[in-house]
Symmetry: C2
Subunit: 206 residues, 2 copies
DNA sequence: TAGATTGTTAATCGATTAACAATC
DNA sequence: TAGATTGTTAATCGATTAACAATC
């Protein structure tokens, strides 16, 4: 019998569970419960138990969940019990900030290279990186077998760059450009658009 | 009879409709259809019609939707037919990038001030702004009647700063810190955490 | 007019929650 | 043991879709 696929909406919550558990672990905590996690995240305890039960039995009745153990299990499920190398495309302000961001490494990610197409940016240093020519992007990403890209180019170039990334073998794109991207089904895309997030709140303001 | 509240998940899609329509308008387009919008966004045409019908009748049978008119209507619904002034809290790399970001103004937002607590940052210029002392934050935000803040401080300070923002009258927070924020029900929060977005994709990678 | 597309209803589908036996 | 909390089932709730009359 074919296992039913895990719903996307469940997968979407797992990183929040993991982040919360890692914060607890940093505070020296050893165990937690679905109730405590739920209260912290604004999610029902039943939902957390149900989500986790899709993947196995990670808790103990009467006790709850062992934090280091659940971190290990969730990291494995999410494929972040390893470090993914990433390419940043676009060396503007945001690309710059991402390349220097220190928060990725503990969570399974590392920026490996950054590209731009503007001659005045190519060769410049950003943190530990030298901005590379976008003309070499496909070859370099393919040679390094990089599968994840963060796209930080102007909206009008986003689709063309995406097509190149796919050609280079990229399978996951975190898109900072305020446009949808057309990709084949085996490529995943997530979007970050601050204005969209802000507009989701202004509806509720007077 | 009490009108049923519009579901949050519907509100969440409206900014995507608006963004798409604005892109179409820039291209000189005059009309579109629920089908075209749906194909572009990866949403069913029926859902788009149903979402819009919660707020009124904006289309014409046989023709579709007039783009400038629908932009106007959605802008009004989302309260972005005005410009919201925002405060940026934290003048690190990301705060820096946000303060200089040019993409807000067309979408209803404008950065008005930026704060930091580090003496070496206070007084420095970022774009057109001078970094202000976080000690003055509550008074300055309250005096300017700013209702929206972008929170770009280290995780360990996020809750304490949030408490101050609420004291200052802020009603919507875009949180870049990788932690949940505890806020009263009248305050809205949206989260941006690149590592969470990345982990939502690595699940699907080998 | 004929073709296209809306707005809306009813049916379907899927996600969340409540409840509880099992058991640490 | 008594209290706590899991994993799971069934019930509920809510969101999505299909279909079509209305009409531009």
């Amino acid at each position: 019998m074919l296992d039913k696929a895990i719903p996307d909406i469940v997968i979407g919550r797992l990183p929040l569970y993991l982040r919360t558990l890692q914060t607890m672990a940093e505070q020296g905590r050893q165990v937690t419960s679905s109730q405590e996690l739920g209260e912290y995240l604004g999610i029902s305890a039943a939902q957390i138990r149900k989500d986790l039960s899709q993947f196995g039995e990670f808790g103990k009745q009467g006790t709850g969940y062992n934090i280091p153990y659940l971190i290990e299990q969730l990291s494995e499920i999410l494929n972040v019990n390893r470090t993914w190398e990433m390419a940043v495309i676009g060396a503007g302000d945001i690309g710059h900030a991402i390349a220097r961001y220190q928060g990725f490494i503990d969570r399974g990610f590392k920026v490996k290279m950054i590209f731009d197409s503007h001659p005045e940016k190519i060769g410049k240093k950003i943190g530990e990186f030298v901005v590379q020519d976008a003309a070499d992007m496909v070859a370099r990403i393919r040679a390094a077998e990089i599968k994840i890209a963060m796209l930080v180019v102007p909206a009008q170039h986003a689709q063309a760059v995406t097509d190149q990334l796919i050609e280079a073998g990229v399978r996951a794109i975190l898109n900072y450009a305020p446009v949808m991207l057309n990709v084949p089904p085996e490529v995943r895309v997530q979007h970050i658009d601050p204005a969209v997030h802000l507009q989701r709140m202004t509806y509720y303001l007077d």
